[in-house]
């Protein structure tokens, strides 16, 4: 066996130091130009493209032995892919991991921003499938790069306007486009638009990694992030009629859980850490699962 004997040896956090340096340079550039998509030489990771390779590379490039890592998918720490990515970093970087938002120094996420406000010093790493907010309006990279360079975002406004003309409101519910620091239109990754306001003036550093598409972008702390809208049709987030059926939270994002085959369902917090912390703090607030309808 030629190379198989040495297969088990990998660098700290998997990537070699040259690669980390390349990624850190891209991150620094991304921070310097908020919302701009920086091309980087994305590596093949030992998990599939589309499963968080961009986020994993960003995390691998910024993580140190003293970091405490939290990984969520759909807001939950125990979804299978979050478990898998957390286990990966435990294995290759031997870092401490947590499910508590407040304890984490790095939070890698797919599709959600935690409900608890983030603090200065925390890094939120987003997994991004399609970094280009204009992609579904213009499939060509050569064209979209030009549009960003010229700040030519008319197409996006026309799309939003057509939504209003057709439906009376903007029919985008997730990956809702934002403008960063008044310049670049950016894809917030497929988080529900509910989370968009949390990006605005956040004290935490927000990094976005798209592995397959080979792009990194960033929102530095205390940066303006505005969801695109019109004066007469201001941006709105989703509202839920009922509180979380487990912890009683209101004003949080809820998942619909189907209870039976007769239309029974309940709504529970998508952020499992938030839900568990609330229930631990106020056991009395816990309401029994009730079926709606």
């Amino acid at each position: 066996m030629s190379a198989t004997a040495n297969l088990a040896t990998y660098n700290f956090a998997y990537l070699d130091e040259q690669t980390k340096r390349m990624i850190r340079r891209a991150i620094l550039k991304a921070i310097a130009v908020p919302g701009y998509q920086v091309p980087f030489a994305s590596r093949e990771m030992p998990m599939p493209y589309g499963w968080g390779t961009g986020g994993v590379q960003v995390t691998a490039a910024v993580i140190g032995p003293d970091d405490v890592l939290k990984v969520i998918d759909q807001g939950a720490d125990d979804t299978t892919n979050a478990v898998s990515i957390r286990a990966f970093f435990q294995k290759v970087a031997r870092v401490a991991v947590t499910t508590r938002t407040a304890e984490a120094t790095i939070i890698q996420t797919r599709h959600r921003i935690p409900e608890a406000p983030l603090a200065a010093g925390q890094v939120l790493v987003y997994q991004v499938p399609i970094p280009e907010p204009l992609r579904f309006l213009e499939p060509r990279e050569t064209e979209t790069r030009k549009m960003h360079a010229l700040e030519e975002y008319g197409l996006m406004h026309v799309k939003l306007y057509e939504d209003i003309a057709r439906h009376g409101h903007i029919a985008t519910t997730y990956a809702y486009p934002v403008k960063v620091e008044g310049r670049y239109v950016m894809d917030p990754s497929p988080t529900p638009k509910f989370d968009n306001p949390k990006m605005h003036m956040s004290p935490a550093l927000q990094l976005f990694g798209a592995g397959r598409e080979k792009r990194i972008y960033a929102v530095p702390p205390f940066t303006r992030v505005e969801s695109l809208d019109f004066e007469d049709h201001p941006f709105e987030i989703q509202r839920f009629d009922a509180p979380c059926a487990l912890c009683g939270s209101t004003g949080v994002y809820l998942d619909e859980v189907i209870l039976d085959d007769r239309g029974g369902r309940m709504f529970v917090c998508s952020d499992t850490d938030h839900c568990e912390s609330r229930r631990a703090a106020e056991p009395a607030a816990q309401t029994p699962a009730e079926t709606l309808r």
């Binding site: 091309p39 980087f40 030489a41 599939p48 499963w51 990279e141 209870l259 998508s270």
Partner: protein, 368 residues
């Protein structure tokens, strides 16, 4: 009753344990060895090495075994290993003219210096299931002939003698060959990077695109000028030594398509070329690659870009099966947060439609 989605870790561990069991299969059947895969499934190994961009038969065989024979999964495993390897240098261009040829055919000349050599090909076999292979008998040893000294010049060289075919690629003297795996993609690409992308591109995807060019989507009148398979030497310049050192030999398949070209403002009428070069023995891939390469040169040659196979962004962005399989299969991951948002929107829009309809009906009743 609501059951929290807990226990992801145990579920994953158990799934992998079951996978290992299924991979092994019936314990009464001897486990397949890497040597068996290398020796007897060599074209699978070749494909995994080619699209995995790593020339190591043993590791490719290991990946195939680990992937239970799923070739794209094996390619993925090999790629993820390859990406961690340090680069200690870039080899000199291999000289396929000096190839130790095992197979060489030309569809453009009946006979040519060096001759036509069929080699180990499926061509002209009748695709009848062979029950003898289910038995243990050994085949007869191959016929051999003494190695000749006759040179085997490339067909492109023969045509070039008359000036009828374009020269080798015309990149500027100071052009440094790109490395697709170490630099971010940027469009438009140079041909060197494009060929790298095609060389590791999915055989099936390139086959379909190449086929489309034959059926009129960017028709380019191809002839298989030459296909050759054999061993070439890989040489590395070692700066400390001042000369090139041979690292070893690799088996490659090279295909040169010869295409009619009407001429343009820039170039006289002549034959142009599409090029394919693939690790191992993989004629289908090399030919498809050559067809795609030629189609993708439309812009360079001043041809209209009308078909998918000519569209560089389309072809290069989608030819990598590791990327494609990852993104297609990521749809298996939970998307319920976004789906919740869509559910909410659809319910709201349905409510609005129903309200509008009810209001319309009420208006009509009032009018009557």
């Amino acid at each position: 009753m609501y059951v929290a989605v807990k226990g992801g870790e145990a579920a994953i561990a158990n799934a992998h344990r079951l996978l290992a069991d299924r991979r092994r299969g019936d314990r009464a059947v001897p486990a397949i060895t890497l040597e068996q895969i290398v020796e007897q499934l060599s074209l699978s190994v070749d494909r995994v090495m080619a699209e995995g961009s790593l020339y190591d038969g043993e590791l490719a065989a290991l990946a195939i075994k680990q992937a239970r024979g799923d070739v794209i999964e094996a390619i993925f495993i090999l790629r993820a290993y390859r990406t961690t390897l340090p680069r200690f240098g870039y080899a000199r261009p291999v000289d396929t003219g000096a190839m130790l040829v095992e197979r060489r055919i030309s569809a453009t000349y009946k006979d040519l210096p060096g001759g036509q050599l069929l080699g180990p090909t499926f061509d002209y076999t009748h695709r009848l299931l062979d029950p003898a292979l289910a038995e243990t008998g050994e085949p007869a040893p191959p016929a051999t002939r003494p190695a000749g000294d006759e040179a085997m010049p490339r067909v492109s060289g023969i045509l070039a003698g008359e000036g009828l075919i374009e020269e080798d690629g015309a990149l500027p003297q100071d052009h440094r060959t790109g490395d697709l795996t170490r630099e971010p993609l940027d469009f438009p690409m140079q041909r060197d990077l494009r060929l790298q992308a095609l060389a590791r591109g999915d055989e099936g995807f390139l086959l379909a695109l190449g086929y489309s060019t034959q059926r009129g989507y960017a028709r380019s009148h191809p002839f298989a000028g030459e296909i050759r398979i054999g061993l070439v030497e890989v040489e590395l310049d070692v700066p400390e030594l001042g000369f090139a050192v041979t690292l070893g030999r690799i088996r490659v398949t090279e295909c040169q398509m010869v295409n009619q070209f009407q001429g343009s403002a820039k170039a006289p009428p002549q034959f142009t070329r599409g090029y394919g070069l693939v690790f191992g023995q993989s004629e289908r891939k090399a030919m498809a690659m050559a067809l795609c390469d030629r189609a993708l040169r439309a812009r360079e040659l001043g041809e209209d870009v009308t078909a998918p196979a000519q569209d560089e962004e389309f072809v290069v962005s989608h030819c990598d099966n590791v990327q494609a399989t990852g993104f297609v299969e990521h749809l298996k991951l939970p998307h319920y947060v976004d789906f919740q948002a869509e559910l909410d929107l659809v319910r709201r829009m349905r409510r609005e439609v129903e309200e509008a309809r009810a209001a319309g009906a009420a208006d009509r009743e009032a009018a009557e």
